[in-house]
């Protein structure tokens, strides 16, 4: 089980993440939702071992993640929000390096990479440098790098960003399948439709704090609204989107 206990991240006086607590069991796919700047990516980076929390603990299988970083990272697959990938390398070389650092056997590694590249329709481009790739192609390489070692925990931060429809559907189905196989999946996004279809449970974050943590079904019944979008709007949006759109239009026409 992956557990966050009052995890916080402060920058000076600013609390990016404030006492966030939740636990994810194996087999659960959790949707991590929130508007821009809510602290989603910060939380994900703290779990991934990239940003040290200023408070609280992250526990996996009874061990403190930040005291056993290498051990935890061996079990972790992470797709970052900002793809700052080595652009001078080819996709194949990049995945070979990642695979070797993850101690995947050489014979299996090459076979795996070629398979991933074929499925993601990058078979013909895998030896080209990543600098020439589109955003979606880079995302496919990052997803492959996160899945290569069959991780126990999967952190996906806006994983469908830039992906074509077919690949997006494949990834969506893959997330479901992985959760069914007993993996822990945390899926951070602000695209509610996808989260609704992928996640068995949602955590809604607003201004660094958890606003709701339950299954979509329970939240619907509890809040008496028909969709996740309505739940989200009630919890984190206090303005009427229609009124805001009208205000924007009038601002555009001013002057």
């Amino acid at each position: 089980m992956l557990e966050l206990k009052s995890v916080a991240k402060k920058y000076g006086y600013f609390k990016a993440v404030d006492a966030v607590s939740f636990a994810v069991k194996p087999g659960e796919a959790v949707g991590y939702l929130g508007p821009n700047g809510a602290g989603k990516s910060t939380t994900i980076k703290m779990i991934a071992g990239l940003l040290e929390p200023t408070g609280g603990e992250i526990i996996y299988q009874g061990r403190n993640v930040w005291k056993n970083l290498v051990w935890f990272k061996e079990r972790l697959g992470y797709v970052p929000e900002e793809p700052a990938i080595y652009s001078h390398m080819s996709a194949y070389d990049y995945l070979i390096m990642v695979g070797r650092l993850r101690k995947i056997k050489e014979s299996a590694l090459k076979h795996k990479i070629e398979g991933f590249m074929e499925i993601f329709d990058l078979g013909g481009d895998m030896h080209s440098e990543i600098a020439s790739f589109s955003k979606g192609m880079v995302q496919k390489v990052l997803i492959s790098a996160a899945l290569l070692h069959d991780p126990e925990v999967l952190l996906l931060d806006e994983p469908l960003s830039g992906l074509d429809v077919t690949t997006a559907l494949t990834v969506r189905e893959l997330v479901r399948r992985l959760a069914a196989e007993g993996k822990i999946v945390i899926y951070s996004s602000h695209i509610l439709e996808i989260v609704e279809k992928v996640a068995t449970r949602v955590i809604i974050l607003y201004q660094g704090r958890v606003q709701a943590d339950d299954s979509v079904e329970n939240l619907r019944q509890l809040m008496k609204v028909p969709s996740l979008e309505d739940i989200f709007n009630q919890l984190v949006k206090h303005e009427d989107p229609g009124a805001l759109a009208s205000e924007l239009v009038s601002l555009m026409r001013k002057g």
């Binding site: 000076g12 006086y13 990516s41 991934a48 071992g49 940003l51 080595y86 001078h88 390096m97």
Partner: protein
Amino acid sequence: MDLVNTLNRGFGSLLVLVKHFFRRLFLNETVFFEEQMIQKTIGLIAILSIFPAYIADSLLFVYLLVPERGTAWVETAFFTTLIMLLIGLITLFEWEVIFLDRQDYSNLGPLPVRPLTVFSAKFISLIMFIGMFAVGINSLSSIVFAMYLGQSRGYGLASAAMLLLVHLVVMLAAGSYIFFALALVFGLFNILLRAKIFQRLSEIIRLGLIVAHIFIIYFFVLDTTWIFKKFKDIQALKENPTTFMMNFPPLWFTGLYRVLMGSREVFFKKLAYKAVLALTIVIAAYFFITLVSYSRYLRKVLPEGKKHLWPSLLRRIAEPVLNLTILRNQVERAVFWFYHGVFSRSRMHRNRIMSYLRGGIRSNYDHVDGHRKIFLEISVGQHAVVAVSFDFLFAYWH
């Protein structure tokens, strides 16, 4: 058993990362050998090796005619200076990839690798890079040195081979020194300067250093005799060493060269000691600076690291009051808060405004104290005009 496994795994990761970082030294924004990387590198080293060999030959040719009796250290010093300049120039071309950067952090951060393994791999890759260039560009010159000095002393083949080895080792040490010294400059700027200033200044400094290096190397080729004469003067200084002489890095490595060749002279021993000490210091400092500048660099570049400004309590109270009273539109508000920001963050501007106010108040006090009036009667033609004292006005206007 666990420890052995951990070490084995760590060693495996180290090898993968050394290979990766070494490759990255050739595949970056400055140098880009995408195709036939090995062949192009060999070609470059071959071209670079001809120039030092030619210089070594013209410097040492004289020892075919006159046997060397402990005077060749001057030529060695001259030659070491040249090699250090060449390695310095190569370092400047690799300026951006000397330190770990954001890409390294983003790509290696989520992987199960210890930070120490990453730092060590980077360091080893740099040593390999310098080793390859230092040994490569000295491959021909080492033969020239071994041939001329070996023959002059009547050495056998084994001794000449030893001489060749000494030459390569010392040039590698000298090259490493200049490489890590320049890397330190880069790291220090990274630590001391703000992100924007660092980015701008770094490029200017780099350009300046490249121009200086090329100019001096060009001077070596253009007027070898003149420079060599200057170096010849230091022969006389051996008995009476000056501070400059003892602090000139190429001479330290010349001292090391002579000591490794078997010299027991105190003068060379002192220089050799300085060479070893300086090399140790720059390498240790590089490690330290890498650690410090890496975390500082990340704080500067990561989106999470940007400073979050939270309005003070005073501002939260003052802002609506000011908006209601004197700041009536967006332009006035924007101007007011801009100057507020400038004065609250810039000590220079605060001091300047305070000095204006101080000058104005003092001048007015003097005026009022002297004339006992704020208004003056001025004659304009036949009319007398009553005006506010110019002193009073201009006192505030600088």
